[in-house]
Amino acid sequence: MRQVIDQGGTGSSRRSFCARQGWRLAALGIAAIVAAPLLLVFSGWLQPEGEVWRHLADTILGGLIVNTLLLLAGVGIGVLLLGVGLAWLTTLCEFPGRRFFEWALMLPLAVPAYVFAFVVLGVFDFSGPVQTFMREAFGADSGLPNVRSTGGVITVLVLVLYPYVYMLTRSAFLTQGRGTLEAARILGLGPWGAFFRVALPMARPAIVAGVSLALMETLADFGTVAVFNYDTFTTAIYKAWFGFFNLQAASQLASLLLLFVALGLIGESRLRGRARYHETSRTSQPARQPLPGYRAWLATATASLVFSFAFLLPLVQLLIWAWSVLAEDMDGRYLGLLGHTLMLGAIAALLTVSGALLLGLVRRRHPDRLTGSMVRVATLGYALPGSVLAVGVMLTFTGLDNFLNLLSRLIYGTSPGQILGGSLFALLMAYLVRFLAVAFGPIEGGLNRIRPSLAEAARTLGATPYQVLRRVYLPLLRPGLLTALLLVLVDVMKEMPATLLLRPFGWDTLAVRIYEMTSEGEWERAALPSVTLVLLGLLPVLLLVRRSGYGHSRGRKA
């Protein structure tokens, strides 16, 4: 790759060299923006907090770590089975309702995890309608499992997080094309053999990206586990912060979380080794295997079950609750909330996806260690609990503000006050820091499947780097880019802690409204903004399905 570029550059001027390094510098800039709040978190170690640590180690820390590991294992296995399984069914098999489930199974993405958690508790807890009905019908022992348990939390998280794996794996399966799998079958592999020995390994980068997103979100989650009062490592972070008023100790704990994630990611890439998965040729839509007899209906039943629990159930319950408060809570301000939510989501999605694309391309061009670690740092933000990250970003910008004010006082004798803190810019940067990993996953997955020789050929044929980007990479990356845009857009719209802390005055979003209601336990009144958010989240999904034939390369040249 590098040689090709260098060959292409033999006759070129210094300017193109600068342009090349310029991109790399831009990537470095993005990494620095992400790294600043992370470094602030690590700087918590400058001030030892022995007492808090001793206390935590003596009392709750052990249990919290066990809880967290259980949760990680459960969620990891769950999203893997559900995400990959459903992606396989909808892309490579034919069963009744397949065309509907193909996109419908992405919809649970629009349901914020904390909202889903309180719906599940409301419906299935001891005092909820289901158990009450069972008790009345069958007596005291209804035989239903207790939802406020490890299993309950895992189920909830799996149902809200599997779409990450589903979407990423799906676009991987779709771009694998017919040829590879057909070749495998011709060479004597059965359907299972083809799946496990060809399709799965080829989709591995995408699957890993999806599962690591789900696991990072699990590690960083506080909202869902708080609704269940299930204590994890983040509980210790918030306890140190809010209970002991000790932000230092909280950062120290949070930095361990980051370290854990970084080690996990490095470990995975070591295991993957130097294997590379490029498709040999692009063909049309892979052939779908019609499932025989009862198996087809089994597939339909599974997909329906997942769809009903993860999407219909919360939607219907939220609609019922929202209806009961509609008259008193619905007012003109909802239009503003909607506008802010959409606008922040759209700008942040474009910004973040562009950043991720830049990182992906730069890493492809410069496969050296430095660039590699730069990219790795840039995608760590997702593993930090939202509030901790928000404070990190806030500290970065107020620090800059204080510096600028000092400078201005020295030079002009006056200080302008707040410049970046409390600005929209700071909020957008926070979204970038948090969701770069989300955008990077699908883009990296897409890039990995593009053979380097394609770009090399284009360069040899005289295309400029810009032309290579526009005419080779972008078209081939389309499914990945759309997935990335969608994921970030929906994630930003759901995001709560950074929005709360960094929004400029008056920039309330639907998530802010949900916070206002849930923080005082008014679940029913939180339903109206929640259901609005869910419906708003459907919009981009449907739009992508319709307009771009998301994932359907049928009849189109990709």
Binding site: H55, D58, T59, I60, L121, F126, S127, T132, A226, V227, F228, N229, D231, T235, Y238, K239, F242, G243, F244, F245, L247, M343, A346, I347, L350, S387, A390, V391, M394, L395, T398, G399, D401, N402, N405, S415, G417, Q418, I419, L420, G421, G422, S423, L424, L428, P497, L500, L501, R503, P504, F505, D508, V512, Y515, E516, M517, S519, E520, G521, E522
Partner: protein, 333 residues
């Protein structure tokens, strides 16, 4: 697409810069929910023409922000919902002491900072709620009594991670001493029918559904359930009437050290402690006014009079860290 991007960039550019704050306004950072402060602020704006800008968030992040912004902060006032948080804000040096006769006259001494950096604006009583079907109020007496083995498998509690319970236990430590308070908390944990709930409403629903018989909640949560179902089979009990009184906490406010509109903010704070504002401030959330001159709402009055704990609530802040550690040791999640 290109046009969309251009439009977005234009919007971004015009809104990027932080807004300029003009003279006739006050900026508030509030941990009290928007729907509980906005109507009061709107009334003030109507009356005086002073515009009030605010952002809401949890105390922790707001305080971190206030501290980091230092002299550049746009905030003039900080509102929180728990005395522990106010105490901590004062401790961090972000609040300025005030000399105001009005505030001293309107707010009882135990509901404000002895050093005059923060002032309670509404009182929330954390009391016992029981099932009126399965509990005879004669069985109840005090918070400590809920540790008695007769309540085994009959108690529900909200999580110890909520600051309301941390303050309750902190005040108990002040009253009973560390050892005895820890005994009580251990007793509570032993009596739990089910693991602690994430909020007061869920705990009451559990009592209603028969999972347990008693719990401890802030009265306004009970008020909300009662408003929805006036015939609800739950009742309030005022504990410790023979000794310390019911545990009370405040939602309150202070003026920031680097306030840009200090006098305007003090005016607002004084107004908030006045008769007109108090009725609304407390009434919006079925809390009790701090100003003893002000009548409570009829629904709240119907719950009866009680003797509240008159220890200065600053203690709740001072002892919060120890209280959290105590609850961790006792296994109260």
């Amino acid at each position: 697409m290109k046009r969309l991007i251009q439009t977005l960039m234009l919007i971004t550019a015009t809104t990027l810069a932080a807004p300029v704050v003009s003279a006739e306004q006050i900026v508030v950072y509030s941990a009290r929910n928007e729907h509980l402060i906005k109507p009061v602020f709107d009334r003030y704006t109507q009356k005086t023409g002073v515009e009030i800008k605010y952002i809401t968030d949890k105390e922790g992040p707001l305080l971190a922000r206030l501290k980091a912004e230092g002299a550049n902060t746009p905030a003039d006032m900080l509102i929180t919902v728990d005395a522990g948080n106010l105490w901590h804000a004062a401790q961090e040096g972000v609040l300025a002491p005030l000399e105001s006769e009005t505030l001293l006259a309107n707010i009882p001494a135990h509901l404000r900072d002895p050093q005059k950096r923060w002032f309670g604006l509404s009182v929330r009583a954390r009391t016992i709620v029981y099932s009126s079907e399965r509990v005879n109020p004669g069985e109840l007496s005090s918070y400590e009594d809920l540790a008695d083995p007769k309540w085994r498998k009959r108690l529900c509690l909200r999580t110890s991670k909520k600051v309301y319970n941390q303050s309750l236990v902190a005040m108990m430590m002040e009253r009973l001493g560390k050892e005895q308070a820890e005994e009580v908390v251990r007793g509570w944990v032993a009596n739990l029918a089910v693991p602690p709930f994430s909020n007061d409403t869920k705990a009451m629903e559990a009592v209603l559904a028969g999972q347990c018989d008693v719990t401890i909640v802030n009265t306004y949560y009970f008020g909300r359930m009662q408003s929805k179902d006036p015939a609800i089979k739950l009742a309030l009990y005022w504990p410790n009437q023979a000794d310390s009184g019911v545990h009370v906490n405040v939602s309150g406010a202070g003026i920031t050290r680097h306030a840009k509109h200090k006098q305007a903010a003090i005016d607002l704070l004084e107004w908030l402690s006045s008769t007109t504002a108090q009725e609304m401030f407390a009434g919006l959330n079925m809390e009790y006014p701090v100003n003893p001159e002000v009548e409570t709402a009829p629904q709240v009055q119907a719950w009866g009079d009680f003797k509240g704990d008159d220890t200065n609530i600053a203690k709740a802040g001072e002892l919060q860290t120890e209280a959290v550690m105590l609850m961790d040791r006792a296994g109260y999640r």
